[in-house]
Symmetry: C2
Subunit: 336 residues, 2 copies
Amino acid sequence: MTSSSVSTAETPPGYSDILAAAKRLAGKAVVTPLLESHALNARAGGRILIKPEILQRTGSFKFRGAYNRLGLIPAEDRAAGVVAFSSGNHAQGVAAAAALYGMPATIVMPADAPAIKIANTRGYGAAVELYERGSASREARAEAIAAKLGATVVRPYDDPGIVAGQGTCGLEIAAQADALGAQLDTLLVCCGGGGLASGCAIAFAEVSPATKIYTVEPAGFDDTRRSLTAGERLANAPGQASFCDALLAPTPGALTFSINQRLLAGGFAVSDAEVAAAMAYAFSVLKLVVEPGGAVCLAAVLAGKLDTRGKTVALTLSGGNVDPETHAKAVAAGSV
Amino acid sequence: MTSSSVSTAETPPGYSDILAAAKRLAGKAVVTPLLESHALNARAGGRILIKPEILQRTGSFKFRGAYNRLGLIPAEDRAAGVVAFSSGNHAQGVAAAAALYGMPATIVMPADAPAIKIANTRGYGAAVELYERGSASREARAEAIAAKLGATVVRPYDDPGIVAGQGTCGLEIAAQADALGAQLDTLLVCCGGGGLASGCAIAFAEVSPATKIYTVEPAGFDDTRRSLTAGERLANAPGQASFCDALLAPTPGALTFSINQRLLAGGFAVSDAEVAAAMAYAFSVLKLVVEPGGAVCLAAVLAGKLDTRGKTVALTLSGGNVDPETHAKAVAAGSV
């Protein structure tokens, strides 16, 4: 069986792949709205357009890439199912997509993932294999399971089908901003491995090339920001910690970085305290539930990492899968 | 000075007043989206369309009525400002609208209102006068202040200008459902004094007359439900309690009931436990922050108060102004 390596070659997807993904996702994914808050605009001194992927099926943008990628699996390989490794949002995306295609799914997840992510992944019908973070490579583990089952490994970001699926989010942002008569100066994208950023960048290169695109990452896990500056893929220093569980990828993806290096303007990093403040702001002003990793772009705006005065800025809230205790703690800490 | 009684005569607004309100609100109020969740649809066995007025300016639908009503104040009365009495959402709506018109505002609020509502009302620049709930009539107090200042009293619901403003919410729901190709069997509206329900009912009578409209109220404060059944305005029994602070009006409004009696199909009541479960569901599945009073319609659907199987149902999430502790407590209690 070679299905685990199907179409994961490092060929970047093109704009046409994103259009095909959008067609595949129609009626399956949510066309999330583009929101605007008078209060946030006033605070930023500009126009901030919010893409709440927290409202996406499975509570994060990851469903887009997963559903698109699974749709690319050849008919003869579908019965053997899929295997994924993920800290939780890709897990839910793959599990929900697999259920819709009627394919079995096995997901390798860290044992310390948020309880809501593990429960939801199981809830979509997937088998979950927990591992201790920091132990044997989760990729190797997923590959071993896939080899045994003859299943297809669905990588979280470094895969053209995943990138194309995430690109549909960028496609929607551009069209929705256009419908509002807004010319986007800047797009901020939450970044772990770089799948959402690279997908959005490919879409924007076609439909809104003048918009400058930046990643936002947790401080200490700002490998993409540093790599963009250095011009090569750099790893995060060991021993870092952040409660942005969704954004702890060790290095930029090879495929995603090749795209991001070409198309992005740079990156920002935010502290956990800045993220907690953004979660509190989302709660009390925007009335949205955002998980730590999903709040980094809002944190960048609120903390003044970029000059938003007189600018039109779109930002992603990439996910909302957060345990109630973690959320309440962040809202309390971030409100002071 | 007679400005405190300006245009509060009991003449119901018509459809044209709602269209005029929509024009007045354009660019000032948020056109909140109509959201849909695969998970909620699956659970309800039907199609549930969510109107999240939590995303409205000031965090509740009340801004609609307030901004519209203040726009109807004659030019010569504006400098003297407005006075309102409110448990908190109307307070914020009037305060924010007054700031936009450059009018001074004084708001009479119960001392036990959620801290976020008092703080936000002050934040919009209004003077806040607190009173002990159960003490002297808040209406009398507001009238006394208005008489002293020569200001206009802006009632929370029993006013044609308020009802017309809230009706713009119904106008949007009908148009947005239409754009989705959805024929609404049912519309559920959160109900305190009946302003939102009556406004939506006038709009729907014109644009979607086949839709059955129901109020949802907290148990013990289901005066509108009981009044609709009895055919006359009934008061709530004394000594009741509910944490739905926004929906504790003692009786249906005279104006609003005259409309609701003619146009509504009936009402439902939900317990505080059912409301907490809805707040928890909104948090964990919908990723939305909803205050207790804003969650009653969702509670009615989740608790099976009506048969949603095979039906298309729109519901309002009327407000999201809730203190973090109250929210966390409800999410914890509602998750079990």
